[in-house]
């Protein structure tokens, strides 16, 4: 993956930059020891690594502002970081950048159950937001599989989704407001606990802007009352096409499960070997979860069972109790880890119209044979958000390049059938150069003009999202 040449002026002023940051921030907030900055050399897209110039770990919005003012004045690029679980290389540093990590800012500032929101510092992990309100019977809905580790800051930057977003929406639908520090150190509030502010929806633009418009330090999040109960079913099919048709029929019937997850045979086999969740050996399986009181769950599952029956399932297992429910989810939740046992993998994230499911799965199968790399599929079927996992061997010469080429092929396919490059992981570094597949130069120009407004000198996470050639002039580089 090509990165812009690091700015040699900045590299040569490393000591002064670090000294100024140290002078402005409390003890222990600035890291420049190469042994320690190495910890920040990559995110979860670990094929690409580069240690930053320095790392700052502020404890407050004011300290974030102080660090940004210095970087702004000295023209040093800044890469914001939450927990570093991005699968798109969004938090990957460049050699001439300061990584600004918000992980130490993890406090709950206020909870308001009457008005159903929580105000947190943005470094707080996703799961611990729900954890903070659980005892009162509430939860925070967006639930990325990485929720134990990932931070609200990263969720906002990537507009992350999760297994349950079919019903509850993704981050942007559950975000009420943020406090954000702009590159020049200005602190600003967008939205707030009451939501609608009757102005341009700047919050909506910041959400999903991949750390390129400002550093988010606090957030107001919608919390929801927990449903009375939930129950998953496991439905196995003889072919992916049939499983896909079953998904379409459920949605068409007006039933809205909270989750419909899909796994294909390569993924099922890997998962069974790894987690032993008791999945049958079949071509495709669906995990469908519904919520409500026991009677409401029965009412929904009866209908889902009737629809599934029309597609001759090999198996239809309702979780009889909590333990079985956990086991059904266990396989799905360990799928990425299980595939990881088979070797290195790249996780794609394109979304397609659900009507194109069987065609796309068939084409992915063909492409996999053509490129000689195995692909497993595990994804959010209810909304068409695919996660093809391409297996490759990082130690084998040329395998990564082949994997990238296959990945690009698959993402182009997603766009061709009416979908998009990324449903929830973001563009980052990984898909930057594929943007012209989905967007015209005018579309990209419009997006870049938004960045011009928030960050006129293009110092925030500058080499991401847009094809390098398209952003070169703005980044002050010859194309």
């Amino acid at each position: 993956m090509e990165m812009p040449r690091p700015n040699s002026m900045i590299l040569s002023h490393r000591a002064q930059i670090v000294a100024q940051l140290r002078a402005a921030l409390p003890e222990g907030c600035v890291i420049d020891d190469p042994m320690e900055t190495r910890v920040y050399e990559c995110d979860a897209l670990s094929a690409y690594r580069c240690a930053p110039l320095a790392v700052v770990l502020p404890r407050s919005t004011q300290e974030v502002a102080a660090a940004l003012r210095i970087c702004h004045r000295l023209g040093v690029p800044v890469v914001p970081r939450g927990s570093g679980t991005s699968l798109a290389g969004g938090a990957m540093p460049s050699a001439d950048c300061v990584v600004l990590g918000v992980a130490r800012m993890n406090a709950v500032l206020h909870t308001d159950y009457e008005n159903r929101y929580i105000h947190v510092q943005a470094g707080r992990t996703n799961l611990s937001v729900s954890g903070a309100v659980e005892a009162q019977g509430f939860f925070y809905a967006p639930d990325p599989s990485s929720q134990l580790a990932c931070a609200i800051a990263g969720n906002i930057a990537m507009n992350s989704g999760g297994a349950h977003c079919l019903k509850y929406g993704v981050t942007t639908n559950n975000l009420l407001g943020v406090t954000m520090v702009m590159m020049d150190g200005t602190i600003t509030t967008l939205g707030g606990p009451w939501g609608d502010g009757f102005g341009l929806d700047l919050l909506g633009v910041v959400c999903g802007s991949e750390g390129q418009l400002g550093v988010v330090t606090e957030a107001w999040l919608r919390i929801l009352p927990k449903p009375e109960g939930a129950r998953p079913v496991l439905v196995a099919f003889g072919s992916s096409e049939v499983a896909g048709a079953c998904v379409a029929d459920i949605i068409r019937a007006g039933i809205l499960p909270v989750a419909i997850e899909f796994m294909d045979r390569p993924c099922i086999r890997a998962t069974e070997a790894f987690a032993n969740a008791g999945y049958p050996d079949c071509e495709a399986l669906l995990i469908i979860e519904v919520e409500g009181s026991p009677a409401e769950i029965d009412e929904q599952l009866a209908r889902i069972r009737a629809i599934a029956a029309r597609h001759d399932p090999i198996l239809f297992t309702e979780a009889a109790d909590e333990a079985q429910a956990k086991r059904i989810w266990l396989g799905r939740k360990s799928a990425f880890g299980a595939m990881g046992q088979l070797g290195d993998y790249m996780c794609l994230d394109g979304t397609i119209p659900v009507s194109q499911l069987s065609y796309v799965l068939r084409r992915i199968g063909e492409l996999s044979v053509e490129y000689g790399l195995d692909v497993g599929n595990v994804f959010h079927a209810g909304d068409g958000n695919m996660h093809p996992l391409i297996l490759y061997n990082a130690n084998k010469d040329g395998d990564l390049a082949k994997c990238e080429a296959l990945g690009a092929e698959i993402l182009k396919l997603c766009v061709q059938v009416g979908g998009c490059l990324s449903g929830e992981h973001g563009i980052g570094l990984e898909k930057r150069d594929l943007m012209p597949v989905q967007f015209t130069p005018a579309d990209l120009e419009a997006q870049m003009r938004v960045k011009d407004v928030f960050d006129p000198h293009w110092l925030l996470n500058p080499a991401k999202v847009f094809p390098l050639a398209a952003s070169a002039a703005r980044r002050g580089q010859a194309a």
Binding site: N115, L190, G195, A295, M435, D443
Partner: protein
């Protein structure tokens, strides 16, 4: 008047314009009295794609809402965000178009459960102030590819660009609907009931108060609705309105019918639900208004509709004390945007300058 028939003609019209333009959908939601040559979007009409099994609808911006509603109803589907019809409230005629609804982010009572128009908008196509066609988002349910300009355009009232196409997520019409009607409570207690209902696990899809009554709506499968209504009736003393009777209640809340024909300015407030009763009480004391006839609370109290005699703008600002935002929809100085913080208004103006550098669309609004 310019009447383009396609996005290309629209782009051409904007590119070759020499003065301000007045994009006009059905003419029901235009902002203030802006001068300029009328750019009539009604020629950009029609459905480009409708896939009921994917819950996806792609329509041209000038398509009338009524046409969309009847198309969806034919498949037992609907727009989940319940777009309101403000013609009677604001004393306008014309036809609501989907572009106008998107540009106004016009959302009804179901926002508390299914989200606003902006949440249902999967993608847009538009033409900016230089006549350049731009697309953002798409037609799929999950999409984080590039910046979300869809949100920027939703609620921008045509200040940045003219919408030419909108992709929407639709939803199935549930088989049953009931409304719990709570009578005999004052505003404070009536709003507390709404907050309790919204904080319950019973998936409330409407929580409003008007004319001295609080309303709580439940929708879904018949058995489930009956069960949840039973649970909520155990908490509140309530009668039930079912089917068409329930639907009529929510059409009135959605369109703010209780305020139709009331004199004075019409205000719309966005506040914390728990602050609503007190803010309204203060204002009614100032205005001598009638709490049963001059106020509609929706979204559990988070949205307040209010009529006030002209000239009470200062009182309103004082009552709010920075605890929310307010706009005047009818009356002298009516505008779709509230006053913002200095930073937000600077950012908004800078975005305006990027998308509409020659000032072809509404000016001076931020």
């Amino acid at each position: 008047m310019i009447s383009p028939r396609s996005e290309a003609e629209l782009a051409e019209a904007v590119a070759s314009a020499t003065g301000p333009l007045l994009p006009k959908g059905g003419g029901t939601r235009m902002i203030g009295d802006v001068a300029g040559e009328v750019l009539d979007i009604s020629g950009l009409s029609g459905v480009n794609l409708y896939e009921p099994a994917a819950l996806t609808l792609v329509v041209q911006a000038g398509t009338p809402l009524a046409q969309i509603n009847s198309l969806l109803a034919g498949e037992r589907q609907r727009l989940g965000f319940e777009p309101p019809d403000f013609r009677a409230l604001l004393g306008r005629d014309g036809v609501s178009t989907i572009g106008g609804i998107a540009a106004a982010n016009a959302s009804g009572p179901r926002r508390v459960q299914s989200g606003a128009a902006r949440d249902a908008m999967l993608g847009i196509r538009c033409v900016d102030g230089q006549g350049v066609a731009i697309s953002s988002g798409g037609r799929v349910m999950k999409n984080v590819t590039g910046y979300d300009l869809v949100k920027l355009m939703a609620g921008s009232f045509g200040t940045l660009a003219v919408l030419s196409e909108v992709s929407l997520k639709v939803q199935s019409i549930p088989e049953a609907e009931v409304t719990l009607v709570l009578d005999g409570l004052d505003d404070r207690a009536g709003l507390i009931a709404l907050r309790r209902a919204l904080g319950s696990p019973y998936d409330v899809s409407g929580a409003a108060r008007a004319g001295g009554r609080s309303y709580i709506r439940l929708e879904g499968m018949a058995g489930s609705v009956a069960y949840r209504a039973g649970r909520l009736r155990a908490l509140f003393d309530a009668t039930l309105a079912e089917g068409a009777q329930s639907a009529a209640i929510w059409a009135d809340i959605r369109d703010v019918s209780p305020l139709h024909g009331r004199a004075g300015d019409i205000w719309r407030l966005s506040v914390l639900p728990s602050d609503a009763a007190e803010i309204v009480a203060t204002l009614l004391a100032d205005s001598g208004g009638d709490g049963q006839r001059d106020v509609v609370y929706d979204w559990g109290g988070g949205l307040v509709w209010l009529t006030l005699p002209a000239g009470l703008d200062g009182n309103l600002r004082k009552a709010l004390q920075g605890r929310g935002a307010a706009i005047k929809l009818r009356g002298a100085g009516a505008a779709p945007f509230a006053r913002q913080s200095d930073q937000v208004s600077a950012l908004s103006s800078a975005l305006k300058a990027q998308f509409d550098p020659f000032g072809r669309f509404a000016q001076g609004v931020f």
